[in-house]
Amino acid sequence: MAPIARPDTKTLFHIDLTWFEKNGRDAREAIHEALCDECRARYPTPADARVVDRVHPQTGEVTRADALWESIVDHCALKPGYVTPATPLTAAIFRALLANGNQPLSSEQLQKRAGKSSPTAILKLLLGSEIENGVVPFEPK
């Protein structure tokens, strides 16, 4: 068995989308809640969002992507109201990971993106007894 590394502020976390199903929640519903008003008007329910063309912000390359993720990464997360000081810390962490396309982030990086709390406090929160919004340590396959 591989040794278990003691988690620290460099340990990576991501959203385990299967966690929602296992816990009777809808991941797409949770993602939809992070949309800005403009995008929510375009996609009133998660079911309205389908696969769309995504234009890469640096290369111009087009790939097919889920409209919810595409909207958040390329539009909603770039707007000032995406994470505010009033956003609860657990929601800010979830939104930071969504904005990163669910690419894993450490508690140090999450703290910078959430703009609140401290890396150690975020690490403690994420390693707490209750998993919030499916955010768990990332285990590379």
Partner: protein
């Protein structure tokens, strides 16, 4: 590839090493890293410009998402390292958030499947900016590139070549191992005899003259090969300044130049913040023990002369400190030893000495000190001379007459001092002059001091002995430094640091201290 990526890569690739291999092969003679760097940069700039010119000649337009494209059209993708592709298909874009746009399928060179890119895409995008270049130009002439990037490329190149088994170097000169002419044992025996006969260090070029290598070998190559052979033979050592290798025989070097005399060994001292007054006193004493083994001290500005105050360990070892201000009298050297001459300022007599980098000392002065009956505390002056490898040495003679001075002896394992009338024939630092009454008994105290006691305890032991000689019961920091060095090698900062830290001593100004008997251990 961005310009900075390009320059970070120059000097590190296999292609660069291969090119320089060819360059040295063709040249048939060693080259300095500066020459190799200039050649490499010139070649890389020319190659890159050629590549960019070829790219431009293809006349493929730059891909910009805002443009419209047709099937069959060739495009250059700046964001993909200026790769070229051909448009295979055009379709409508599909994203209600982005409005209307097109998607082109592009077959990029060296890829099996087409990739898709946005077209007629009016939203803000960095590639839509018109100042984007079709292909990055280096925008530098080779000369400008050498001036701007030469130092970084040279460092990267030296590192890369040093791990390549085909290349060898002597100092900053590089050559190919396979092209070195053989310098066989017979040549090296001749070199040994030539140095012995000269009884001095000999330049590589002068040794070459006596070796009579075949005429077919280029002089620069022969010099290089001889340098490598001498460097790899333990009989020889380069004792010259940087850029001027001079070879000497290790068996002819003083043993004190090859191994630091034990009396100069100082224990590492902790850094204690000294008062401004003590810091000034310590700085003026130019003691190498204060370097604390630190070889990274910045070089001092070149100077013409320096006055040093002799301490007992240096008097015993026939040495003087090689601190940065003393180094500033000599040419730079990066070898372990620099062979120099001392020249007596009065008699003009010359004798051999060495500047030893590792132990930070000048050696070769035992007889000179003894002949002038110098005591610890004597002033010794070093001056530059017309020959950069010769230091003029002088002291301040005075008519010999008997003076009341401090005389040191060891009694029952303790250092003791008495005021006695002794003949002194040189000028000296009042606070540091100590005449040695009995060197053997001092050695016994030094032996005990080395093994047992801390500097602070030694100072507490020595202080009353010195205080009794001064009416006011106070002792100068320099006197304590000079006295401690009779039995324990310690730099002025170490001694003054121990004085500052110990509660047994109180500074009373002017560099003087008094003893607080209540705090003695």
């Amino acid at each position: 590839m961005s310009s900075s990526d390009f320059w970070n890569e120059v000097g590190t690739t296999n292609a660069d090493v291969e090119h320089l291999y060819g360059f040295l092969l063709e040249r048939g003679a060693p080259a300095t890293s500066r020459e190799l760097t200039a050649h490499l940069i010139e070649w890389r700039v020319r190659e890159e410009e050629k590549k960019l010119a070829e790219l431009a000649a293809r006349r493929s337009p730059l891909y910009q998402p805002k443009q419209a494209f047709e099937v069959g059209q060739h495009l250059v993708f700046a964001a993909l390292g200026n790769r070229e592709g051909v448009v295979k298909q055009v379709r409508a874009g599909d994203n209600p958030r982005l409005g209307e746009f097109k998607v082109i399928a592009v077959q990029l060179a060296d890829e099996t499947k087409p990739r898709e890119f946005a077209a007629e895409y009016g939203a803000p995008h960095p590639l839509n900016e018109d100042h984007a270049k079709s292909a990055e130009s280096l925008e530098l002439t080779p000369e400008q590139a050498v001036a701007q990037h030469g130092a970084a490329v040279r460092a990267a190149l030296a590192q890369r070549l040093s791990v390549d088994k085909e290349f060898v170097h002597v100092g900053d000169e590089w050559f190919l191992k396979g092209l070195l002419p053989e310098i066989h044992a017979g040549y090296l025996n001749l070199a040994e005899a030539a140095i012995e006969q000269a009884n001095d260090a000999v330049r590589t070029a002068d040794l070459l003259k006596v070796l009579d290598l075949p005429d077919t070998v280029k002089k620069s190559t022969a010099l290089f090969a001889l340098g490598i052979a001498l460097e790899n033979d333990e009989r020889f050592e380069d004792v010259g300044p940087n850029g001027d290798a001079r070879w000497y025989l290790t068996r002819l070097e003083f043993s004190e130049a090859r191994e630091r005399p034990a009396v100069l060994e100082a224990a590492p001292a902790g850094r204690v913040a000294l008062s401004g007054e003590l810091e000034l006193i310590a700085a003026e004493l130019f003691d190498e023990a204060d370097l604390n083994g630190d070889t990274g001290k910045p070089p001092a500005a070149p100077r013409a002369e320096i006055t040093l105050t002799l301490t007992y360990p240096h008097r015993q070892a026939g040495t003087l400190p090689l601190t940065p201000p003393v180094c500033a009298l000599l040419p730079n050297f990066s070898q372990p030893r620099l062979k120099i001459n001392f020249q007596d300022a009065t008699t003009q007599e010359k004798f051999t000495g060495y500047a030893v980098a590792d132990g930070h000392y000048l050696v070769g002065l035992s007889q000179w000190f003894a002949a002038r009956k110098l005591s610890p505390g004597a002033y010794v002056m070093l001056k530059r001379s017309a020959d950069p490898l010769t230091l003029t040495i002088d002291y301040q003679p005075q008519r010999e007459h008997s003076l009341w001075v401090r005389v040191a002896r060891g009694v029952n394992g303790h250092l003791t001092f008495s005021q006695e009338k002794r003949p002194i024939a040189h000028k000296y630092d009042e606070e540091m002059l100590i005449v040695i009454g009995d060197p053997v008994s001092l050695d016994a105290v030094a032996q005990a001091a080395r093994q047992q006691r801390s500097l602070a305890v030694l100072l507490e032991d020595v202080f009353p002995e010195l205080a009794k000689l001064s009416g006011a019961g106070r002792v100068h920091a320099k006197t304590l430094y000079s006295a401690i060095n009779l039995i324990r090698r310690a730099g002025p900062r170490a001694v003054m640091g121990a004085l500052t830290e110990s509660r047994a001593f109180t500074p009373v100004g002017g560099g003087y201290f008094v003893l607080n008997e209540a705090h003695i251990r």
